[in-house]
Amino acid sequence: MKRIILGLLFDGNDFYLSRNFRLQRLGDMSWLRTNFQIFDLASQVDEIAVFHVARTEVSPDFSRSLAELAEGLFVPISVGGGIRSLEDADSLFRAGADRLMFSNCLVANPRLVNQIADKYGRQAVIGVINFFHSQNDEILVRRGSAGKIVTEKLDDLPLTQMTAAVGELVLQSVDRDGSGQGFPVTSLSRFMELDSWPWIVAGGFGSFEHVSQVLMDTRVQAVLTSNLLAFVGDGLMRARRSALDLGVTLAKWELFSEDTTDAP
């Protein structure tokens, strides 16, 4: 069964939009509740992915904010960014994270990724590969954060080793991030070394048709969009309906009601 995942870019205080990995502030938690009815949005998706964009390590304040956010979410929550230690991971799991996402650490600190997989299981670890096209159409991978960004050729990366401890893989297009132009599906053929993975693809989704069309691709298990403005209101529900109409298998669920729980 395929999935639609809503991404939230969050620094612990405010939520952001991203365009080619450049951030634009949207507002704080109350703003998100008021303007985006985040808990209604969450009832339209299979998962939530929270990207910690503060460019620092995870702080107790961030964990507290995550816990506040998680209070009203009854879908899985993945969290990535700023995880520097097993203690950071413990803190995020305690705050409500179900899975953790790693990009830079896959190369820079695989020991930490392994430690977390050993403690929480491989299913609790997601690898993220942020890729873009060079001018001569090579695939480059970007990792690190502001001031410490590293760019490498995809072909130079030890992909098998990098992904040895992860359960799933996100392929995120930097070129299309926030563009609303759709995910570059043709790029997927460049990741054949990783073709045994269930891919989550991210970057570029700007309409419900983009989502449903990509979900039709047999290589893609899930679509992740952080483009809140493109899917405000019932946009994600429309994406869901559109995908179902095209024959994509997606979960169906009910809203909770104490009147319909049928306890004997």
Binding site: M1, K2, R3, S43, D46, A67, A70, E71, G72, L73, F74, V75, P76, I77, F93, R94, A95, G96, A97, D98, R99, D118, K119, Y120, G121, R122, Q123, A124, G167, E168, S196, W197, P198, Q221, A222, L250, A251, K252, W253, E254, L255, F256, S257, E258, T260, T261, D262, A263, P264
Partner: protein, 224 residues
């Protein structure tokens, strides 16, 4: 068990609060998600990390996100494992969630040197090789008739899974629900008398998952 522990248990049973649900907090995994879900359904519940307090509860939940070995060790170190076994043997409904269900069995390939609670004759084994190394996402759960919720028009419901190992009971009569994953059918829920478990995460399965927890909190039964 020491004498003081035995006296503690006796006293705990005598002062038992019949309505409360105890959630085993053994320091591993994501207790908050279960807590949020129980708050949402309005359950009367408490985290329990003191084994002497386990008998006070009329229902018990054993959540689990993590690897089998560290979780089983924590259950042993804290004394919660033994307390849960005694409570289950005394008839208290006990439900394991995901890793919590796997811990109800004896062993796991994930951590061969550690033992589970052995409340069910079962072992946990790695998912067979497939396109994916984990079973992640919503899956259709085929429910055995006896565990079907009243007024349900279907025996199939979608619940959220995230695991790399699966539960294999020796006695198939304990199977309450099954799920097709790749080419194999995996056990997605088990129940024997007052001991039950779900491989999926009801606390992460939108409204129908909350309803599973609500029915367990209210009745002590597994109804999917």
């Amino acid at each position: 068990m020491t004498e003081w522990m035995a006296l503690g248990y006796l006293n705990s049973f005598l002062t038992r609060k019949m309505a409360a649900l105890g959630v085993a907090d053994y320091g591993v995994g994501n207790m908050r998600s279960v807590a949020n879900a129980l708050n949402k359904i309005g359950a009367e519940w408490e985290l329990v990390n003191d084994p002497l307090k386990v008998p006070q509860y009329s229902r018990l939940l054993l959540p689990g996100v993590g690897a089998f070995g560290p979780a089983a060790m924590r259950l042993g170190e804290t004394g919660l494992g033994k307390a849960l076994v005694l409570a289950a043997q005394a008839g208290t409904p006990l439900m394991g969630i995901c890793l919590g269900m796997q811990l109800l069995g004896r062993t796991s390939e994930e951590s061969p040197s550690t033992q589970g609670l052995a409340l069910l004759e079962a072992s946990t084994v790695r998912l067979p090789p497939h396109h994916s190394v984990t079973n992640t996402g919503f899956r259709k759960v085929q429910v055995v008739a006896a565990f079907r919720r009243p007024n349900s028009s279907t025996l199939v419901c979608d619940y959220y899974f995230n695991h790399g190992y699966h539960f294999v009971p020796e006695d198939v009569s304990v199977v309450a629900a099954a799920t097709q994953w790749a080419e194999v059918e995996i056990v997605s829920a088990v129940s024997r008398d007052n001991v039950m478990g779900v491989q999926f995460h009801p606390e992460k399965s939108q409204g129908q998952g909350l309803a599973v927890l609500d029915r367990f909190a209210r009745s002590g039964h597994l109804l999917l």
